[in-house]
């Protein structure tokens, strides 16, 4: 225990590289650095990890490699889950291990250069101060790992197995099948046709519905913002109503209203003209109807955003334009439009990604229907509703997972471009 009181001359002979090397066993290097409490803590942590986790990790790796050996006893799904957890835990342990080397080396250098060994109290204070941002992020990160990251990894793994209704644990074992499922998506006639039609409709849906929604909102916002219009508050409040009513309620109500046989639209609105439109049973009509409903549901939010921005544009801009003899269209194109877009662009992009994943309207309106011959996706199914149906209705987990990965790739490409344009990203440099 007298080690800590030794004169600095001996400290000069202290070798940080040796400290780092001793840390092959976590903690020993720290003890060599005369940081006894820290060393003991590291040692204890390492011993605990070795003792408690080695079984868990071994089973995990065995499980993720073999996916089980005896049917009924081994549930491939749990083994896969444990395997993924084992990989995550290993990653954390490795991070700790690397940190342990760096820490021993740093402390060793400090000791050699004659820094005083900080007291336990100071150490605690230091750990609190420097670690503070990590403590703040940690709870959120754990929840995220459990709820988002882990399921995504699990889903990616499933895409490379043969998990479906006929081959499902615990009665049967799963096997790794490589890229077979993706191959089937491209080569199998049924899957290829379904994938192409769903993919193209998803793109059309996202683009048309969202753009229309924004267009209608912009048109109405500019209209209502006209200085001659009275009762602005009342008009705005009514226009926002569709946003305020829970969308699952309105979608189900629309579904009933557009019902081919007893819906109010055919029975009350169109009956006087002698027209009956197959809103739900004809794929094209169903698509048009869904887009119209989405415009009804989605324009109020954008309208509210635009109205807020419009009110904040200074009237001096318009007065200056009038002096220059600008027409109404000029004013809109050069003043209103750029202002509105600049202020709301990120939120508008979110509208697009929201519609890409808009499961609710597709599923609640018609469950993705009507059915289409020669494909196993409904006429209005977008990727996410198709995945849902494959998962929970036909239990074809492997294909659902493979399609999810394709979806993920699309989202990632989209995200990549958004990153590059996002202002918050460029502003990172400021701090």
């Amino acid at each position: 225990m007298t080690a800590g009181l030794e004169p600095p001359t001996s400290a000069r002979r202290h070798r940080p590289v040796l400290a780092a090397m001793l840390s092959v066993v976590p903690g020993v290097g720290q003890i060599y650095n005369r940081r006894f409490i820290k060393g003991a803590l590291f040692l204890a942590l390492a011993a605990a990890a070795g003792n408690l986790l080695s079984d868990f990790l071994a089973t995990g790796y065995w499980g993720i490699y073999t996916l089980g050996e005896t049917p009924m006893d081994d549930d491939s799904r749990s083994l896969l889950a444990q395997g993924i957890l084992a990989v995550i835990v290993t990653a954390f342990l490795l991070m700790f291990y690397v940190y342990n080397f760096i820490d021993a080396y740093r402390d060793g250098r400090k000791l050699r250069d004659g820094f005083r060994i900080p007291s336990v109290r100071e150490n605690f204070h230091h750990a609190w101060d420097k670690g503070f941002p990590y403590y703040m992020v940690l709870p959120g990160f754990f929840i995220l790992a459990f709820v988002v990251i882990f399921p995504l990894l699990f889903m990616i793994c499933l895409a490379f197995t043969n998990y479906n209704l006929y081959n499902s644990p615990p009665a049967k074992l799963l096997d790794w099948v490589g890229f077979d499922n993706f191959r089937a998506l491209i080569t199998d006639e049924l899957w290829r046709k379904s994938l192409l039609s769903v993919l193209s409709w998803t793109v059309v849906w996202t683009f048309v519905a969202t753009t229309l929604q924004i267009g209608v909102a912009l048109f109405l916002a500019v209209l209502v913002n006209d200085p001659r219009v009275k009762f602005k508050r009342l008009i705005r409040t009514v226009f926002i109503l569709p946003w305020a009513v829970p969308s699952f309620v309105t979608i189900l109500i629309f579904a009933a209203m557009f019902n081919d046989t007893f819906g109010a639209v055919n029975r009350e609105l169109l009956a006087p003209f002698g027209v009956q439109i197959p809103w739900m049973s004809d794929p094209t009509w169903a698509k048009i109807t869904i887009i119209l409903i989405q415009v009804w549901l989605g324009f109020p939010f954008v309208f509210a955003l635009f109205s807020g921005v419009l009110q904040s544009i200074s009237s001096e801009w318009y007065e200056a334009a009038e002096v220059d003899g600008g027409s109404r269209w000029d004013k809109f194109r050069h003043i209103t439009f750029p202002h509105v877009m600049y202020a709301t662009a990120p939120l508008l992009i979110m509208q697009y990604s929201g519609n890409f994943n808009n499961f609710n309207i597709i599923y609640l309106f018609n469950e993705g229907g009507p059915p289409v011959r020669n494909q196993n996706a409904g006429g209005t199914d977008i990727l996410i509703s198709w995945v849902y149906k494959l998962t929970f209705e036909s239990n074809n987990y492997k294909m659902a997972a493979a399609i999810s990965i394709i979806m993920g790739l699309i989202v990632a490409i989209f995200a990549f471009f958004q990153f590059r344009r996002s202002r918050s990203f460029r502003e990172e440099g400021l701090y």
Binding site: L152, V245, I253, V411
Partner: protein, 280 residues
Amino acid sequence: MKKSAKNRIELALIYLVVLFVFAVIAYPLLWTLSISLNPGTSLFSTSLIPDKLSTEHYEWLFTDPRSDYLLWYKNTLLVAAVTSAASVIVVSFVAFAFSRYEFVGRRHGIYAFLLLQMFPVLMGMVAIYLLLNIVGLLDSLWGLVLIYLGGGLPMNAFLVKGYLDTIPRDLDESAKIDGAGHFRIFFNILVPLAKPILAVVALFNFMAPFMDFLLPRIILRSPEKFTLALGLFNFINDKFANNFTRFAAGSILIAVPIAAVFLFLQRYLITGLTEGATKG
């Protein structure tokens, strides 16, 4: 003279458009209201203007022993309150760290959050189902809370971070010089200034369980644990035309309070969102 005529026609056209939109918005809403007040449970016999009004469906929801409506209301309120409170805490911590501290892994952390924000929780639904099953949280309201919390986290964290970035750093730096600790800076300086966006986060997370039916459908099994959205969906999913009037009545009872809160707070919401977004 000519100009004012043109003026009047324009104005008339504008009002015409506004009235048309009014009608389009009101029609489905009024239709629902009238159905909920129609006697009888069949959709076939209803008409837009009922012959006689009746509140039997509302009474059924509250008094009939076969109705779980109040129970669902209680479940939903519980899930909503816990989700909302927990996410405000967790989200503001994360946003605080990302906005105010320089630390190893910060940049990657922000990337990760940005990327994860784009993936819907739904993509991992098989895994979520199995995972909750393993840890025994399937068919439990706590499992639902956990998923809501995690699923909304990246996006909410971004909103709040964007907002915090707009608050001048001089404020907390001068407090730091005066000797304020991390938590003091956070609770006494940043939280009061970030109230608008925290309110937005709280409200969004409170509303989500009232509006979402998909996650409850995956996670919850027993009818006494249903949330409102799921319970109401099952009203019409089981026997379509038969329960529609009850569904309408139940929906009105959800829609009215939510719409009231939205309309009351919309100005606040919009400012919070645009300020967070233009910076974020």
